[in-house]
């Protein structure tokens, strides 16, 4: 997780757009709102949800929202529901309302850039998207705790099909908090709905304000939703493919939609193994081999292999 950006205070959609357009979109970004004073005094509930896990384009955003337990009822007045069940306009409206209620509700988002997602999944260690997601959720909880919020109960939308497993995992890391992991937590708990709105609106606006470091003058209507089934997205991937470098940075190279196009339409690339790929011969040496005048048996000192030195002409 990158260091919190304190340059912009997000209190509206405009300031959200300012924050998003100022950042380097090949890197992750983190934002935490001002902390409501009452959240540092009274026990709070936290909700965590994600937006943009599936699409081949743009960042994945993890959001966290928190408020004192006794303000839970008040949350319903924001009409939060599962962010996907609301229209974009309605989500934007709820986002604006919640942003201006910083006396009660605090929030943070972790924006994981498509470049970082690709780099994690295509690292030698093959860091999965689930691991990236877990780290993000843990980072958000830690940031909120660090900011002085009195954490009582954390509600998290599940990752994968076994919420109880993820819950046990989180409880192991945060033994002092109550933690509930549930399927569809965003429609069950208003605080998770709030988190899902913060995440979803941040993701949508980061696509809307996306500036291509490659210099293309495109807006989100030119690349579509980013879902692999979207014909506009498919067309964009085909049209903006560079045969050497592949795609612009908005694309998650580690998605099969992207890698299939690379395989068929771009120049083949063969990555070099960094590990030594010269397994020692396990065959035992036959005594007769010492009498053969075979060049192959004249083993070179390993020094030459280490130095990448080979003979270019026989002596």
């Amino acid at each position: 997780m990158d260091t919190p950006d304190t340059g912009t205070n997000i209190i509206s959609l405009d300031s959200l757009n300012t924050f998003l357009s100022q950042r380097d979109n090949s890197e992750n970004a983190f934002y935490i709102s001002t902390i409501p004073k009452m959240c540092t005094e009274a026990p709070c509930i936290l909700g965590i949800d994600e937006a943009g896990r599936g699409p081949v384009l743009g960042p994945m955003v993890y959001g966290i929202a928190f408020c004192p337990i006794d303000k839970n009822e008040m949350l319903k007045s924001f009409e939060c529901a599962d962010s996907k069940a609301l229209t974009e306009a309605k989500r934007d409206e709820i986002f604006s309302n919640m942003c201006t209620s910083t006396d009660v509700i605090g929030w943070a988002v972790d924006i994981i850039s498509p470049n970082r997602i690709s780099n994690s999944m295509l690292s030698l260690k093959k860091h999965s998207l689930n691991e990236v997601s877990k780290e993000s959720a843990i980072g958000l909880i830690k940031a909120v705790a660090f900011a002085g919020v009195v954490i009582e109960h954390i509600y998290v939308d599940t990752l994968g099909s076994q919420p109880e497993k993820y819950q046990a995992y989180l409880l192991n890391i945060f033994p002092n908090y109550k933690i509930t992991v549930a399927k569809k937590a965003d429609s069950l708990y208003p605080i998770v709905s709030a988190a899902s709105i913060f995440a979803k609106v941040t993701r949508d606006h980061s696509l809307q304000t996306w500036k291509f470091s490659e210099g293309f003058d495109l807006n989100h209507k030119d690349f579509g939703s980013g879902y692999p089934g979207d014909p506009v997205t498919k067309k964009f991937l085909k049209e903006y493919l560079d045969p050497v470098f592949g795609f612009p940075q908005i694309v998650r190279f580690s998605w099969s939609t992207a890698s299939k196009i690379l395989e068929s339409d771009a120049y083949p690339v063969e990555w070099m193994e960094t590990e030594d790929e010269n397994p020692k011969s396990t065959q035992s040496t036959q005594i007769t081999s010492f009498f053969k005048m075979d060049k192959e048996t004249k083993k070179k000192h390993s020094f030459f292999a280490q130095m990448c030195l080979t003979n270019s002409t026989p002596f």
């Binding site: 470091s213 045969p243 070099m272 960094t274």
Partner: protein, 132 residues
């Protein structure tokens, strides 16, 4: 078969190339690459002078390496590739460089990397051999 390297006289005149990137992969292509558009904007450097970047989503870690004193880096171009391995080959020097970027795939460059060994260790050994 012999290898001829030509254009040595013009080396002094050619300018120092500062954009040599040694990449940890092979690409089956022979064409220009839009390095400034797709690669340069991603290159970052940390306080330990370790560079990072990305190619086709793969994380890269790099270090700027200097060509040792008394040596020179040259870019060679072969106009006519040989049809067989028996004929002489002609290479022309098209550029020179005194440093280059060495990139690893997801591994911080260290002295154990073969290229670093070649630059640091091999050259010392070669000099010791030839000085006697």
């Amino acid at each position: 078969m012999a290898i001829h390297i030509q254009g040595g006289k013009d080396i002094a005149k050619s300018s120092i190339e500062e954009n040599i990137q040694s990449m940890p992969f092979k690409i089956s292509a022979d064409c220009d690459a839009k390095v400034s558009t797709y690669f340069k904007p991603l290159v970052k450097v940390n306080e330990d002078s370790i560079y990072s970047s990305s190619f086709r989503g793969h994380p890269l870690s790099g270090k700027k390496l200097a060509i040792p004193d008394g040596y020179m880096g040259v870019v060679l171009h072969e106009t006519v590739p040989p049809g067989t391995d028996k004929v002489d080959r002609n290479f022309y020097i098209v550029n020179k460089f005194d440093s280059f970027m060495h990139w690893n795939w997801d591994k911080t460059p260290t002295l154990n990397d073969p290229i670093m060994q070649a630059l640091h260790v091999w050259i010392d050994v070669a000099e010791a051999l030839h000085s006697s």
